[in-house]
């Protein structure tokens, strides 16, 4: 009996010594301050919707600011992206901060708002995921971009250029300065292609669109196509024909005009490359003078190698002021959705949930006036786009999203 008592006493002592309490995971009070940045002034920071999205968890919360532009969240430890977006007096206001560490009560973050004028041309739809053949192989020749004139005025498309960012969403942004800010020039890779014209040759009427295809064929029925493809691009306005510079490896669809090549890092590629994983964002821009085409890319001042890389490959550098519209495409995976674009170009992100799914991203319809579709454009693709849509090249919705 005594020995039993001694044994039990000894073990109670061990319990007390070893059973130290570790911190239990809980939600922390996090303060967010929204403010205008140094370059712009304004008022009216009340009732703005601030969105908190977990990078490594599934949390997605929205809270409204008070009159001082402040709001509070209760969030468990983790990495979060905070964003705010609104339109006022014809200007888009966006603020976005990403990968903010929340670990204790009282963590505070500030979102600086950027201001940008609402533009006329917008990406209406981007079908980048591609599809699969009946044999299960991947098929990306049916990718397309659709560009829409979101205004009531004619816009000329001469020199309109499309390019994919070199920076991949799966990695942290390498194109940053010593202050950790994204460089004011955007690095483009693969084929950067443009619409040929002398300045006023190619007009786009109000509230109409053009389709730019990788290959301008009916992919469902053409012998070179894919019966599983969701699109007929035989009526595309342009296609990205690469046969002139890759030894004729690309198809040249009859009756579909070809884009011109401004710059390339992959002359030998079989076709125009758009990442089917959504790993590289897309921009459209115009150079200042039509005479800048087609030699602007040959000027070494307009090129750069990747910072911190030993590779000698040079990429085309486009000042962000030239950008007309952009979409921050990212991968669907947690941790592979790093920001590549400036917040005043695109403060959000959008993605399809899987590659080769035959699905696209499409801009939301904000309103329909006299039968004319006006698409939502807040320069925030998180808010402006729907994902996993059935592609509808050349077709516009008849109801508001």
């Amino acid at each position: 009996m005594r020995s039993c008592f001694r044994l039990v006493s000894l073990f109670l002592l061990i319990i007390l010594l070893v059973n130290c309490d570790d911190k239990i995971a809980k939600a922390h009070k996090v303060n967010i301050q929204v403010q205008y940045n140094n370059n712009i002034t304004g008022s009216g920071l009340e009732m703005l919707n601030v969105n908190a999205v977990g990078v490594d968890n599934k949390i997605n919360k929205t809270n409204s600011t008070d009159e001082s532009g402040t709001t509070t969240f209760k969030l468990p430890s983790g990495l979060y992206n905070f964003s705010v977006s609104f339109v006022k007096n014809g200007y888009n206001y966006n603020g976005y901060i990403e990968n903010q560490v929340v670990k204790e009560d009282g963590d505070s973050f500030t979102i600086d708002l950027t201001e940008s004028l609402q533009q006329g041309l917008v990406f209406k739809e981007i079908y980048y995921s591609g599809s699969r053949t009946p044999e299960g192989k991947t098929y990306t020749s049916d990718q397309f971009l659709e560009i829409y004139n979101n205004t009531d005025e004619v816009i000329y498309l001469d020199g309109l250029t499309i390019g994919s960012l070199q920076q991949a969403a799966s990695n942290e942004n390498d194109w940053i300065n010593s202050a950790n800010k994204i460089l004011n020039r955007i690095a483009l890779q693969w084929h950067v292609m443009y619409i040929l014209g002398s300045g006023y040759d190619v007009s786009l009427q109000p509230f109409t669109s053009v389709v730019i295809a990788v290959d301008g064929i009916n992919h469902k029925s053409d012998p070179n196509g894919n019966p599983n493809s969701p699109v007929d691009l035989g009526n595309a306005n342009w296609e990205a024909y690469c046969g002139d510079f890759n030894g004729g490896k690309d198809l040249d669809a009859v009756g579909v005009p070809n884009l011109e090549l401004l710059f390339s890092t992959r002359h030998s590629a079989n076709d125009w490359t758009i990442s089917p994983n959504g790993n590289n964002s897309i921009i459209m821009f115009k150079l200042p003078q039509i005479s800048d085409y087609p030699t602007w890319g040959e000027n070494p001042n307009n090129r750069s190698t990747e910072p911190g890389s030993s590779s000698s490959t040079e990429f085309l550098m486009i000042p962000k002021e030239y950008v007309i519209d952009a979409v921050e495409l990212v991968r669907p995976d947690d941790g592979k959705q790093h920001k590549s674009l400036h917040n005043d170009i695109d403060a959000g992100k959008v993605w399809c949930t899987s590659s080769f799914s035959g699905k696209s991203i499409r801009r939301k319809v904000k309103e329909i006036v006299d039968g004319n579709v006006i698409y939502q454009d807040t320069n925030n693709s998180s808010n402006d786009f729907l994902s996993d849509q059935d592609p509808t090249p050349g077709i516009h919705p008849t109801s508001v999203d």
Partner: protein, 523 residues
């Protein structure tokens, strides 16, 4: 349910009787086998020779009743389980081969065992681990799973030395287990596991009192490499946190593989005291064991995916009374597991050619407490130092509560389990038989669960809750026989046949069938 059990029992009895009847004809001409050990009563002879042999004290093999002993055994097991954890396979087919031996050299006692098992585990999902602790919530797996093939190897040895003065015994136990497990469906894991255990022990003898102490140190190492033959598809891998909560990773097109590692240890101490009375012995054992397992993803710049801590406290008291031809063995066991799962909040830090992860916070995300109180009473009738009838009955209470944070989800299950086990030994003519009948009934006393939004609640959370709380009835029937007709002076062949059936009482379609066959030779 009862009809099928009766039929099965009848078949087992008939098969064994037919086989042993063949032997009776030979027995009258065979030599006397009285000097041979009997396999049918071997476990009994060892367990009740001395109360120390009912403990894990390494020095206890000094009390083995035989000078020399060896067995070679081959076995087959078929298990089909509809009532199971979602992390376990639906069926298992296993072939096993083992050999063990014991010898006494003056004051030195040596025991060794080698075992090989080849197991096919069918329809297993969500779990690509092998050797980690059953209660570790930080397991990983995929939703496709498949049929796994496992090769398992075990080497175990114990030695004990009795001092010339017989005042102390010291002992050392070594255990080395290795396993390879894989499945051939994308995403296909290759799981390599290793456990190594070292246990020194000491027993000090006084007049009526013995005092013992033993230590335990065990290392775990497990690596799972997940590859795909078809990299054009995305595959989802799940890192679980507990109660079905998880972090999902996508093994995307172009990404070649995923690597998960587990490293850990167990450290324990056990203190024993034994009192020997006129016709009884009492052994008290108090032990503490700490288990630690770290899960991590990647081979370079690892992402930590959870630290598992388990502090286990155990108290056992065994009272063994031997009076004339009767043995009473009364056991009480109380154990408490205090489990914590610590999650790490990490930020990716890109480095040249690779990534590293910086920990900016850590907190307990999983907590579990399991308390068990178990009591059993074993009653044995002997004749001529051989067992004839053994009846055991037991009761076990389990209190099990799991919580996950910061969501504050929880489940709590309290069960009571009754068990009864009867062994009847028959020695007549050329037959030694041990017939075994056992029954277990688990009844849920209370249960409750609180969750809101868990993505895998229908696939993981609720099925696991059901598995831990459903009432069930389990029967086990078996026969072991010494094949005296085939015996010679130096060896005794034996065979055993067992079946175990489990039925969930509220759903009789939810049942498990297990069958095992073994043959061997006792030297």
């Amino acid at each position: 349910m009862l009809n099928s059990c009766t039929k099965l029992t009848s078949r087992i009895v008939i098969i064994t009787l037919c086989f042993t009847l063949q032997c009776i004809g030979f027995y009258t001409n065979a030599q006397s086998k009285d000097t041979l050990k009997h396999y049918t009563s071997l476990n009994y002879s060892i367990e009740y020779a001395d109360i120390w042999l009912q403990s894990n004290q390494p020095a206890a093999i000094s009390y083995q009743p035989f000078n020399k002993l060896a067995t070679i055994n081959a076995g087959f097991l078929q298990a089909d389980n509809l009532f199971k954890s979602v992390f376990h396979p639906t069926s298992q087919t296993q072939y096993n081969l083992s050999s063990s031996g014991y010898t006494k050299l003056n004051q030195l006692n040596l025991w060794g065992k080698a075992q090989y098992k080849n197991t096919k585990q069918s329809e297993q999902k969500w779990n690509n681990t092998t050797f980690i602790s059953e209660a570790n919530p930080f397991i990983h797996g995929d939703s496709i799973g498949g049929d796994y093939q496992q090769d398992f190897y075990l080497l175990e040895a114990r030695m004990a030395y009795r001092s010339a003065s017989k005042k102390y015994d010291w002992g050392l136990g070594l255990n080395y287990t290795v396993s390879d497990k894989t499945n051939q469906s994308d995403p296909r894991p290759l799981i390599k596991s290793l456990r190594f255990k070292l246990e020194p022990g000491l027993i000090i003898h006084q007049q009526k009192w013995d005092y013992g102490i033993s230590l335990k140190y065990e290392r775990l190492s497990e690596t799972t490499e997940t590859t795909r033959n078809d990299k054009s598809e995305n595959h989802a891998l799940f890192r679980f946190i507990g109660m079905g909560l998880h972090k999902k990773e996508t093994l995307g097109t172009g990404y070649p593989e995923d690597i998960m590692t587990y490293n850990g240890y167990k450290k324990g101490i056990s203190i024993q005291s034994k009192y020997k009375g006129l016709d009884f012995e009492n052994l008290s054992i108090a032990s503490y064991e700490k288990t630690y397992e770290r899960a991590a993803q990647g081979s370079v710049g690892q992402l930590l995916t959870g630290d598992y801590h388990n502090h286990k406290y155990n108290f056992t008291n065994i009272l063994l009374i031997k009076k004339e031809q009767l043995i009473h063995n009364i056991k009480l066991n109380i154990s408490h597991n205090h489990i914590k799962g610590i999650w790490f909040y990490q930020k990716e830090i890109p480095q040249s050619q690779s990534y590293n992860f910086e920990i900016y916070d850590k907190a307990v995300r999983h907590k579990r407490k399991i308390t068990q109180i178990e009591s059993s009473y074993d009653f044995i009738i002997e004749e001529n130092n051989l067992p004839h009838l053994q009846v055991e009955s037991g009761i076990k209470l389990t209190f099990d509560k799991t919580e996950v944070f910061p969501e504050s989800y929880y489940n709590q299950v309290n069960n009571i389990q009754f068990s009864s086990n009867i062994n009847k030994y028959l020695y007549f003519g050329g037959i030694n038989l041990k017939m075994n009948l056992a029954a277990t009934y688990r009844f849920n006393l209370s249960k409750r669960i609180y969750i809101e939004d868990i993505e895998l609640k229908e696939q993981i959370t609720y099925p696991e809750y059901y598995y831990s709380s459903a009432d069930f009835l389990q029967f086990k029937i078996g026969i072991t026989t010494d094949l005296l007709c085939l015996a010679a002076d130096k060896y005794m062949p034996y065979a055993s046949l067992y079946t175990q059936q489990l039925f969930v009482t509220e759903n009789s379609n939810n049942h498990n069938h297990n069958y095992s066959i073994g043959i061997g030779i006792l030297f």
